[in-house]
Symmetry: D2
Subunit: 146 residues, 4 copies
């Protein structure tokens, strides 16, 4: 498959498929890619026991990882390979073992090689758990042949 | 064991032991706590295949998780329970499967209930991989009885 | 005037008036408060020659100051005094002497004493100039008597 | 003057002089460049009444501007023009009208076109007021002819 002739939505989905097949880390954590669109992505993950401390509270690193994956899929929807430069996360409420977390990535800005994406993590009750902001930069290469 | 009568260094080590025993997530990733001191911690982790994509590059989420663990141990060395509020990471160079990463946490500021900690991640060659800055806030509770 | 019996919008406006009268720094830079609403504020400022370098490009500090003022007004609309804890800014495009900049602050999250606000700066052509994210925390005190 | 043959220290000083002469905004605020070295800069500024609110507390924007200037001088000491991409500031304690603030910039990382610099602001008593972290990127151009 090549990128030529694809709609923006079809291109976003093709880029995501290419990345997903390649991303063992994301699959290994049981993440599911719910949807992708130009500049957007939604991923869900259930908090496993191995992601928590003895009191059942999810390690912040796994919340970050979930948001970071949504960020990566969202900023790679244009068939230009993009990487994370700088990311920040603010914790709002704890997540617990068994919680079903949803990371929703939206594009804030894209100019030249630089992009800004906001990712909100919510739990199964729709309560906000964390807010993440990621800065991307495109590098050489494409996901599909041009 | 109680906190009374312990030196600052012994207290830091006792807090770390209490946290470590409780932190399944950190142990599950194969991290090793190399050292801890008041406001400081060093943790190492080897990049496993399950932490990487198909090209062998470590997912940013696992680098964050390593730094976040070092941050957590460093800001919890005073027998006051502290949690992360806001963290940021800047990626400098990629880490590869098999790399032995060291996260070194140092205290930048501690005033009232708020702390700032910088964590540098380096690889086995001493090359900088990422810079992380974490903001902590103390909550109620102690690691050891007062 | 007291806060009791005011609508949320009227309260937001009363808080803003109280702050504005007190904020010499903001007035001194020629800022104008365009609108305020619960969790929101819009401020405009024209880039003066004294805010720029010799090539006519606005110093980043003045863009930050504009966004920071919009942030302060937005997070102080509930009659609980709130202060900035941590703020970040990403520069997207330069601003020039004479540009009319608009900072639009919206609330991302508010829980307990902590809030997150995003501020977008655009120029007179509607082009994005910078994105700012501010973290607030309420302290003791109100703007109007309760 | 050209860059050829200058020591690293002489080059840093020559770059700083070139920038300073050009930076009306920084001079207009009464800043003084105390010292500069490769990757480092120290700037002082006294908090004026026009930088504060009615209670005499310095607007966060002016603390940011001071740190941002120290950052700019520090990251421009290698005769490669560098600009700010992303900056964050954490407020530790308020600054008051009349306080003499010192911003000390040190280099955390420099690789390829990207740099990370930490700037600490202290007051005349040596108390920490704010911590700033700046991310720079080199663009085309030099301060002195090569």
């Amino acid at each position: 498959m090549t990128a030529s002739g694809l709609s923006a939505q079809a291109l976003a989905e093709a880029c995501a498929k290419s990345m997903w097949d390649d991303d063992l880390a994301t699959r290994h954590l049981g993440m599911e890619l719910v949807s992708v669109a130009p500049g957007q992505a939604v991923i869900v993950m259930t908090v496993a026991e191995t992601m928590a401390n003895g009191h059942g509270t999810c390690h912040g690193g796994y919340m970050f990882t979930l948001a970071d994956s949504a960020f990566a899929f969202a900023c790679n929807t244009y068939n230009a390979r993009a990487v994370a430069q700088h990311c920040s996360i603010t914790y709002i409420a704890p997540a617990l073992v068994g919680d079903r977390l949803t990371a929703t990535a939206t594009e804030v800005s894209r100019k030249g090689r630089s992009g800004i994406y906001d990712i909100r993590i919510t739990n199964q009750a729709g309560e906000p758990i964390a807010e993440f902001r990621g800065h991307s930069r495109t590098i050489k290469g494409t996901h599909l042949p041009e």
